[in-house]
């Protein structure tokens, strides 16, 4: 139904609209850009938080204690069986002496005098164990059942409290991030709709004239749609690009400023964050641009 020349005209007109109303287009792009930038920022922060919490969760080990009759050979066997499991990332043997030393460190904080009383009488003689680390917290439950079924294993400790706390924190962070991102999106659609409204308000007269000359609704509207999509794309591409280049710098800065974090946490590499952020951001920008203009056009262009 549409002539090719009309389609060409429409697209050209979309770009021309942007160019003719440079200042206004800039404002729209900037508004969009600000929204997507904030979105990207918060997205990155929370993806990293999630990752850090994840890493911390993985750091929570399972401790495996042995029955009194398990000799060193059996203990080594158990170790090999545990290491054979695919979900196990690490399995360290902690001898009774190690356990006692680490206990003294932890509890008496180097206050030798108190510990002296036990000198030849390791109170933790029975506490040789394996510290087992898994790749995913979810695998933990299954692994524990498996290990418990092994001969020579007296007891498997999984620090439930710690796991629970972490997963609660994780959920809390997820909730907060969803709420903030949700609010941001509403704000973004709102701002864009306003910006498009103003754009249409500025051109209200022109649109009226076009209609009086016999332009159909579609003919008048389509350049605005295309304009919205283009602005959405540009307005999301720029802040995403900026975030991409800022990302490593910011992480470096944070690690420098807070040395002690270095050992504690690990950040996601920029590639991995942008694998999801880039498509989400672009589609979001385009979507906001399109939705913003469709809504507004529908509201204002009933001339």
């Amino acid at each position: 139904m549409l002539r090719i020349s009309t389609i060409g005209y429409t697209i050209k007109q979309g770009f021309k609209n942007i160019w003719t109303n440079k200042m206004f287009s800039l404002a729209s792009i900037a508004t969009m850009g600000a929204c997507i930038f904030l979105f990207g920022l918060i997205f990155s922060v929370f993806v990293n938080f999630q990752y850090i919490v994840r890493t911390a969760e993985e750091g929570v080990a399972i401790t495996v204690f042995f029955t009194d009759d398990a000799d060193q050979a059996r203990i080594d066997e158990i170790g090999n069986e545990i290491r054979g499991r695919s979900e196990v990332t690490q399995c360290n043997f902690v001898s009774a002496e190690d356990a006692w030393n680490s206990f003294k460190e932890d509890y008496f904080e180097g206050d030798a005098s108190v510990a002296e009383g036990f000198q030849n009488d390791n109170p933790l003689a029975n506490s040789a164990n394996y510290e087992v680390f898994v790749d995913k917290v979810e695998s933990q439950g299954e692994l524990v059942s498996y290990i418990e079924s092994l001969e020579g294993v007296r007891k498997v400790n999984q620090s439930e409290a710690a796991t629970k706390t972490l997963s609660t924190v994780n959920r809390l962070i997820a909730y907060v991030s969803v709420v903030i991102i949700g609010i941001l999106l509403i704000v973004a659609v709102f701002l864009i709709s306003n910006t498009v409204s103003m754009g249409i308000a500025i051109r209200k007269e022109e649109i009226g004239i076009m209609k009086l000359i016999g332009a159909t609704d579609f003919f008048v509207r389509s350049p605005f749609l295309i304009e919205g999509v283009i602005i959405g794309l540009i307005g999301s591409a720029i802040p995403l690009g900026a975030l991409y280049f800022m990302y490593n710098k910011v992480i470096q800065y944070v690690l420098e400023k807070f040395h002690m974090l270095n050992s504690l946490i690990q950040f996601l590499p920029v590639k991995q964050v942008f694998e999801s952020l880039l498509p989400i951001g672009l589609v979001l920008g385009m979507g906001i641009g399109l939705v913003g203009s469709v809504i507004t056009i529908h509201k204002h262009l009933r001339v």
Partner: protein, 227 residues
């Protein structure tokens, strides 16, 4: 071609701008509409373009009843009507060429035709050189002639011209009016609103005279009627 039956238009309570007007214009006629400032001439033009709907009465153009026309049909109807607005209504952000070409784009003329037709019409109104100027880079009379070119470019069946020579010098005015006469002779129905007594008196066409929204006289081969 154009029939108005008991048409009234009130903008607000009080005196209507067009008051119980009944009128018939045949296909191919040339009609002057004259009258005091504020007598309802522009309102009548706006009614014929369906820019406004009448408060009461029926307007029929080319067999179509405007009052009952569906929203989707309005654009198509307007494409058959060329209009010169009293305040020009040019697209401010486009140059002369694009302003005139716009009327052709609307009816989906191919670019090839547009590229030939637009310069032709601009030459006709004496603006061939100014095709690149934006409306705010034109003098009053030049803007008026762009508006005229835009109304003519589609060779409409009906031409409505609201004060098309208000900003033109007498020589230019006569030339433009002679152009409209020529277009009329080729079959277009022409309605011209004007205050130019000299022109009305020298062209000897049908003259409809309005006063306070009412048609007070309607003469074939008439002259400017002083109220």
């Amino acid at each position: 071609m154009i029939t108005l039956e008991n048409v009234s238009k009130s903008y607000a309570k009080g005196q209507p701008a067009v008051n119980d007007v009944t009128l018939h214009v045949d296909k191919g006629e040339f009609v002057f509409i004259v009258g005091d400032s504020g007598s309802g001439k522009s309102t009548m033009i706006k009614l014929l373009l369906k820019e406004l709907d009448p408060t009461s009465g029926t307007i029929t153009v080319n067999g179509q009843v405007l009052n009952k026309m569906r929203h989707r049909k309005i654009a198509k109807y307007r494409r058959g009507v060329g209009v010169v607005f009293q305040d020009f209504r040019l697209l401010k952000d486009r140059n002369v060429y694009e302003n005139v070409a716009f009327a052709q784009r609307v009816i989906e003329r191919p670019n090839r035709v547009i590229k030939k037709r637009v310069p032709e019409v601009l030459t006709l109104v004496g603006l061939a050189e100014k095709y690149k100027s934006k409306p705010n880079q034109l003098s009053g009379g030049e803007q008026q002639r762009v508006a005229l070119a835009r109304a003519l470019v589609n060779r409409p069946a009906i031409l409505l011209a609201d004060e098309p020579t208000g900003n033109l010098d007498p020589k230019n005015s006569f030339e433009i009016m002679r152009l409209l006469e020529e277009i009329n002779e080729r079959g277009t129905t022409v309605l011209v609103v004007t205050h130019n007594r000299e022109i009305v008196n020298s062209f000897r066409k049908r003259v409809i005279s309005m006063k306070k929204g009412v048609i007070v006289s309607d003469e074939q081969e008439g002259g400017y009627v002083e109220n």
